[in-house]
């Protein structure tokens, strides 16, 4: 009996797998995304290596310099990396500096490393190495280079997903700096841009776009990006504004989460 093989028909096998997949599909996302977070945690090392390769491939300057010059270039690059490593120890100071520059009273700034970046037309997200255990909650804003890049969309015990404001599913209440416009709604477009549609006033290229105050999440308006294009809407007298992030998100290694009301 014990040695007998259990055989399933193909139809039975398919049915069981479909049932399991359906349970996965209908189960609450807060449960199922634990699988995703676990995968990111377990494979964070190969994921970060892959990301670094992709990043270096993107940023390698194309020069016609001879091999010796290139060697010197690499040496200086290594020296730069070593220096950057030393500076990593000064991250705490960086946080305190940030606190001085930004208009937050009593807010806690949580520094987090970026595990992975997804920047496609359908999805613009970062995964970071901080979660509930560090006091993070869904909806909290995320900063990079003193500008807002997005908000937390999923939070697990030790990891979180940042939905960038360029993600097609992201909407942020914003205003244009230096203009008398009321609150506008900025919708992500994917592929590194977001759009503010049907604005009554034409915006100048380069105008800064500010995220509006949001109770419990943001105490003061902060820069989100800059206007890169302003086109006429098909409706008369209205304009569509294209906004780009104020920093290069793909090059980010760490971000800062704003915890407005820290528990302790």
């Amino acid at each position: 009996m014990a040695g007998r093989h259990i055989r399933f028909s193909r139809r039975m096998l398919f049915t069981w797998f479909m049932l399991a997949a359906s349970i996965l599909f209908f189960a609450p996302q807060s449960w199922t995304n634990k699988f995703q977070f676990a995968f990111a945690r377990i494979f964070r090392w190969p994921l970060s290596i892959g990301r670094n390769i992709s990043l270096s491939a993107r940023t390698t300057p194309q020069t016609n310099a001879p091999a010796n010059d290139k060697e010197a270039q690499y040496k200086s690059y290594i020296a730069y990396l070593e220096e950057a490593l030393k500076q990593a120890n000064l991250k705490i100071e960086k946080i305190s500096g940030l606190k001085d520059r930004l208009p937050f009273q009593g807010a806690k700034l949580m520094l987090a490393d970026v595990y992975s970046v997804s920047m496609g037309p359908l999805r613009c997200e970062l995964m970071i190495n901080r979660g509930h255990e560090n006091g993070l909650e869904k909806g909290q804003f995320v900063l990079a280079n003193d500008t807002i890049i997005g908000a937390l969309s999923e939070v697990s015990a030790r990891t979180a997903v940042v939905r960038l404001f360029t993600d097609p599913g992201s909407t942020v209440s914003v205003s244009l700096r230096g203009t008398a416009t009321a609150r506008l709604l900025m919708q992500g477009e994917g592929s590194r841009t977001a759009k503010i549609k049907m604005v009554r006033q034409k915006a100048k290229i380069g105008t800064q776009v500010m995220a509006c105050k949001m109770p419990e999440f943001l105490d003061a308006p902060m820069v989100v990006g800059t206007v890169t294009e302003c086109r006429r809407n098909p409706e008369p007298l209205l304009w569509d504004i294209t906004v780009r992030p104020a920093c290069d998100i793909q090059a980010l290694n760490d971000v800062v989460v704003i915890v407005m009301n820290p528990e302790s």
Binding site: F25, S54, S116, S191, Q250
Partner: protein
């Protein structure tokens, strides 16, 4: 079927897809290429198991859990049974199979993701088409290393 090698392969593919290719606007869908590979070169029982396993792995690196598992499972099973009727031996036919599977799987995945609250944008049609073409062009060339790793002989044709 060498299941340990299979597990290593799908994890590797997931890591590459989520890190090296993640920054590209249009990228080949490596898990889907694997799905077609196993649907063509394995017997239908193994094809069903591999399709769901690859779908689950694709969900691990996707925005939500479930849509890939369902769509890959359905498409992989259908393709495995279809392979009993239509032979997919030559590279152009393999490319065509990848193209069609990518379109169907992609559309089904986005539809299911939409039911889970993920946004559908106007760019989806363009992205689906471009991803399918990219996968179809790259896919047949990846069959050879995949077959070598899985110790599957692709020069010998058989219908299971």
């Amino acid at each position: 079927m060498r299941w340990f090698r299979f597990a290593v392969l799908i994890i590797l593919v997931a890591v590459v897809q989520a890190s090296l290719l993640a920054d590209l606007n249009i990228r080949p869908e490596l898990p889907l290429i694997l799905l077609v590979f196993f649907a063509i070169y394995c017997n239908p029982t193994h094809a069903i198991v591999t399709s769901f396993a690859i779908g689950f792995t694709a969900d691990l690196i996707g925005p939500v859990m479930g849509p890939h598992t369902i769509s890959f499972g359905v498409c992989g099973t259908a393709l495995a049974y279809l392979h009993r009727v239509i032979a997919v031996r030559k590279m152009p036919y393999q490319a065509l199979a990848i193209f069609v599977a990518s379109l169907v799987c992609g559309a089904l995945t986005h539809l299911l993701s939409f039911f889970q609250g993920e946004p559908l944008t106007a760019q989806i049609r363009y992205v689906l088409l471009a991803t399918s073409i990219y996968s179809a062009v790259v896919g047949p060339f990846l069959f050879l290393p995949a077959a070598w790793w899985m110790r599957i002989r692709i020069d010998r044709f058989s219908r299971h």
